[in-house]
């Protein structure tokens, strides 16, 4: 059941075009495994047959499903812990000082998958922000299916076991049948929207904190550079960018500097870059 080189090249080109994610050699098995359910749903006997159908009659809906299936959606609550500890112990106290006039902050979860990251942010803010403050969390993902799931805010027993302290479960979720649903007070602070982070980004008011974790690893250097540049335009001058533990801006975009926040690293825009300097747009 191995994919032909031509089929793999077709899928890789499609995914590359729609998401900028590069599927290198050796990912044939992953592609086949992820596409089997999509092929079955479309009534095809095999992934090859499914791909032949798509190539004969290009179908945007089927193409979107392929991209959805191949963009990573693995996630857990407070994933990796350290960035969330940095958020509550370092970043929020500083923002509470810096935004004392407006008493409002904006955060962005830029690859929110099924919603664990933005809801984890919402839980952290609910616990950390003083009375009288307002906050909003913008959550985006390349996968339309994931966005629809995340909006519902419903999670299985298996999902709520993953990294979510039980005190936070009982305070922030309610049982709905066999599932757990995020309480309305938390759902109301998160806005979900499908977005390709590697494409042109819409004009949005700037963010105080951006989580862009475990996304850059899928892109080639040029795409990484363009994503960091575009994201930087939406980050407030004294804002904070969090990347995945194995990701960095170093050697990719000199407009950022790495700062240590507890056990995590964060990235901030260099303040003292004179106008007109190379690399600054």
């Amino acid at each position: 059941m191995t994919l032909s080189a031509a089929d793999f090249a077709f899928v890789a080109a499609l995914v590359r075009r729609e998401s900028a994610i590069v599927l290198g050699p050796g990912k044939e098995y992953l592609v086949e495994a992820r596409l089997i359910p999509v092929a079955r749903q479309a009534g095809a006997a095999s992934v090859s047959e499914f791909l032949a159908m798509i190539q004969r009659n290009p179908d945007p809906e089927a193409q979107r499903k392929i991209v959805d299936a191949l963009t990573t959606n693995e996630t857990s609550w407070f994933r990796d812990q350290d960035p969330f500890t940095a958020l509550t112990k370092h970043v929020l106290p500083e923002l509470i000082q810096a935004r004392a006039a407006s008493k409002h902050i904006r955060l962005w979860s830029a690859a929110c998958s099924s919603g664990q990251e933005p809801y984890s942010m919402a839980i952290a803010l609910r616990e950390a922000m003083p009375a009288g403050w307002t906050y909003e969390i913008f959550a985006t993902d390349i996968s339309g299916e994931m966005i629809e799931r995340a909006k519902r805010g419903e999670f299985t027993q298996v999902e709520v076991n993953r990294g979510l302290p039980v005190q936070k479960l009982v305070h922030n979720f309610e049982r709905v049948g066999a599932h757990w649903r995020v309480v309305p007070a938390l759902r109301s602070v998160v806005t979900f929207q499908r977005m390709n982070i590697a494409g042109p980004l819409p004009n949005l008011p700037p963010f105080d904190v951006i989580f862009l974790r475990n996304v850059l690893i899928y892109f080639d250097l040029e795409t990484k550079r363009s994503v960091l540049r575009n994201v930087g335009r939406l980050l407030r001058p004294d804002g904070w960018l969090f990347l995945g533990a194995s990701e960095t801006t170093i050697g990719i975009d000199d407009n950022y500097e790495r700062v240590v926040a507890g056990r995590a690293s964060a990235y901030r825009l260099k303040s003292a870059v004179p106008a007109g300097t190379a690399g600054k747009e």
Binding site: S76, D80, Q81, D82, Q157, V158, V160, N161, R162, G163, P165, V166, Q167, L169, V170, E174, R175, R263
Partner: protein, 128 residues
């Protein structure tokens, strides 16, 4: 580190023993709360961790948690319920009785490791 797994299902005890073994725990087992209290009474070095099922004969997990929290010898032990009891009110009861964490069955091995990491019982980043 030493852990006790308290569950009346032999299969479940084996699964939990294997997961704990992979992150460096030595494991002892008991098939209900009373058997666990008896076993612990005879142990000079008490376990740092107990994984406790809820529904068991003789003494259930909730009663064991209450007994452990009231025992000066066992006060340092971290108590994690691992159970199919998934009603919010039941979870709140277990926490009120003194459980530190709660894992709902079915679970993945990663879920156990992550919960123990939250409790500071495995190095951050340990995974299976």
């Amino acid at each position: 580190m030493l852990a006790i797994v308290i569950d009346d299902s032999r299969a479940m005890r084996l699964i939990l023993r294997r997961i704990l073994g992979q992150i460096g725990f030595d494991v002892v087992e008991a098939e209900d709360g009373q058997a666990a209290l008896d076993l612990l009474a005879g142990m000079e070095k008490k376990p740092e961790l107990a994984l406790i099922d809820w529904n068991m004969p003789n003494m259930n997990g909730l009663k064991f948690v209450t007994a452990a929290r009231n025992s000066p010898d066992l006060r340092e032990m971290t108590l994690v319920m691992v159970t199919t009891e998934s009603e919010q009110s039941q979870i709140v009861r277990a926490l009120a009785a003194g459980a530190h964490e709660y894992v709902i069955k079915p679970f993945t091995s990663g879920a156990i490791v992550e919960k123990l990491a939250l409790l500071g019982l495995v190095p951050s980043g340990a995974s299976l």
